[in-house]
Symmetry: C2
Subunit: 396 residues, 2 copies
């Protein structure tokens, strides 16, 4: 166990305070050498033999086990691959197959759009009278009834940081006979998650945010172990087959979580992620969470003192908040560009939200104060009001 | 234009004759530096800003255009992402939506299993009386009738190298009112493909074989341009949305091929692939194909002379064959292990097929003769009959 932060583990650019690790985590220092090894020795010298000799074939499960330890899931219950959108589709299609007599999927309007979009696509494909019902996040619990096939929620709202009560909602969904799916995109690596204890049926998440797996790192999917042998894989690719190299004509799913594998895994990305996860060997999630709460509380207090024009849109109570803080500001887009230009990197989410992620592995109290000082200066001097900071077609 | 081979462009291991580029292409020499740049400078220093500053967001279409040039497809008709299994699912689901009154998908029993498995999964999901009909490869043309919603074939058979007549079958499918989908997994980078001229509706393929994109490199999907604005994306992820960063509640597909994007792209893999594709700037597919045919003809002739116990299972006529040659041999598994142990890397496909890929970029006539000499020695001396070469649970 060590004391936070561990900036020594990361390759952070000079002069940057990085408050966007909730969007793309930074580069752990040891990752480039590991990726180079995978490219030059494994691919270059071992070639096709590397599927055996370098453990490429088992990597999605091996890395899944490393993720499982960080989210409170047992060994063998998580597998890596594809993108979070695909994993949402897999979980939701398997969930609907478990409740053939029900037709409603419940989610909330704060869910990340791709989760809702994938549900729309699945519903169109099934063409059997399914409905995606979305309510305000605070109305979810009351909207759970026995018409629901599945409840599909993201634990932490990507825009506001609002956090659902995973255990209570799961219990309520189960009491109503619905399947529970959690998206942990903004939870894994940020919060203490007791996935097994929540008793939820499925969970999915991405690894390029708080887990620092690199741009486009593979996603994960969890199935509660007692369901893994019967969950129906709609995306029934050859590497989810029980015997991929028998090249049988008919699909037979692998006995457990590996049935959620689809095609050939992205070995180079998987290797970057596998290396990045080693950072967590020296920390624990309780310590991370406590430090994150302290940083968020400090940020809220200092911004509210220094920048009265900004309005907190995140929950004030840390218990109901993830590891980010969002403030609404009329000129939020331009202000964020001005901040980035001065080395404080957060991001913007329409219509007016300035979003700041707090990641105690490489952000400390001095960073928070320095960031607020720059932010206050930008607001006070209207430094955001320059043409180059106005909104254009930008990604972040 | 240059003369083949171009071994100078590749980092090939000492003492290896690599006849498995149809499974995993070798490492182009300039790729490691480009991947390192993406890891260390783009991810490490640019962080989230790289989505704009390093062109990450446009990369799937930019790389798609590079692939399009190699398969006879127009600019803007190909996009990269996910795995080939996912791309098969996308093409097939969009095809079925175009023929709502038809219920049969035709494929052949030689198709790569994942294509058939994904069709099975889609059929189960739709639960509307669809049928996957598979016939022997040589019976496909006769099996096309006006009951078919879609014909889905892999141009080159992964096991035998048998090649379908893409233009003739597409014409016949269209005459019967069916949608035509081609899987180019064993074609892209090996054959001259006139995709636009074939008039097919969809094509998909992978890039880690003849295109040397690296293990788990992203797949591609093509939609004929006149269909791209209406093809229905079943896997409706946020990056296929018309305005991903507007974070709208409802899904609206992007106007063209980019609607087939799903989730966050694997930037590191995409960068390896983008760099690898530069190899093709100095070659053309007609030259590649002519050299491939010559190597295959030489290999067949020399093996049939030196190894009478091996029986050709690939078509003898080059016109009906891809860029690989397969021989059946009762002890094929062990013989392939013995070959690999002596540096000649091909692969084995159940039940008894020894498979050899010919890739004129880095294989020449002397390699072919050297490989046959070693193969003949192994067969003549029964060098394959050793415990360490017997079948185990191996990947290749």
């Amino acid at each position: 166990m060590t004391t936070l932060p561990r900036k020594d583990l990361f390759d952070l650019p000079e002069g940057v305070i990085y408050l966007d690790g909730n969007s793309l985590g930074p580069l752990p220092k040891h990752v480039p050498a590991r990726v180079a090894e995978a490219v030059t020795r494994e691919w270059g010298q071992e070639l096709i033999r590397a599927w055996n000799s370098c453990g490429w074939m088992e990597q999605p499960l091996r890395v899944g086990n490393a993720v499982a330890r960080l989210i409170g899931a047992p060994e063998g219950s998580v597998v890596m691959g594809d993108t979070l959108s695909i994993k949402v589709f897999q979980a939701l299609s398997a969930a609907l197959a478990m409740r053939p007599d029900r037709r409603v999927i419940l989610s909330d309007k704060g869910n990340f759009p791709t989760d809702l979009y994938m549900a729309e696509g699945l519903i169109a494909l099934k063409n059997a009278g399914y409905e995606l019902r979305t309510v305000a996040p605070e109305e979810v619990a009351d909207a759970i009834d026995d018409s629901l096939a599945a409840v599909m929620l993201t634990e932490v709202d990507y825009r506001t940081g609002r956090r659902h009560d995973m255990h209570a909602i799961t219990d309520k969904a189960h009491a109503a006979g619905a399947v529970m799916i959690w998206d942990l995109a903004h939870s894994a690596g940020a919060l203490e998650i007791d996935l097994a204890g929540s008793n939820c049926d499925f969970a999915v998440g991405c690894t390029y945010k708080y887990l620092n797996g690199g741009p486009g790192a593979p996603a994960f999917i969890y199935i509660r172990p007692d369901l893994a042998a019967t969950a129906q894989p709609a995306l029934s690719g050859w590497l989810g087959h029980d015997a991929p190299f028998a090249f049988e004509q008919g699909y037979r799913p692998a006995p457990g979580i590996e049935r959620m594998r689809v095609g050939t895994p992205p070995v180079l990305q998987m290797t970057a992620l596998e290396a990045a996860l080693e950072v967590w060997a020296e920390t624990d999630m309780a310590e991370i969470r406590a430090a994150s709460v302290a940083l968020c509380e400090q940020f809220i207090a200092e911004v509210e003192t220094a920048c009265p024009d900004l309005h907190l849109v995140s929950p004030r109570d840390a218990q109901h908040r993830g590891s980010q803080v969002s403030f609404a500001f009329e000129h939020g887009y331009a202000a964020m560009q001005a901040l980035i230009a001065r080395g404080v990197i957060g991001d913007f989410r329409a219509p007016d939200v300035m979003r700041f992620g707090f990641t105690p592995l490489y952000i400390d109290s001095a960073d928070v104060s320095a960031a607020v000082t720059i932010l206050a200066d930008i607001i006070d001097t209207k430094a955001w009001d320059r043409p180059e900071f106005h909104r254009a077609n930008r990604v972040t």
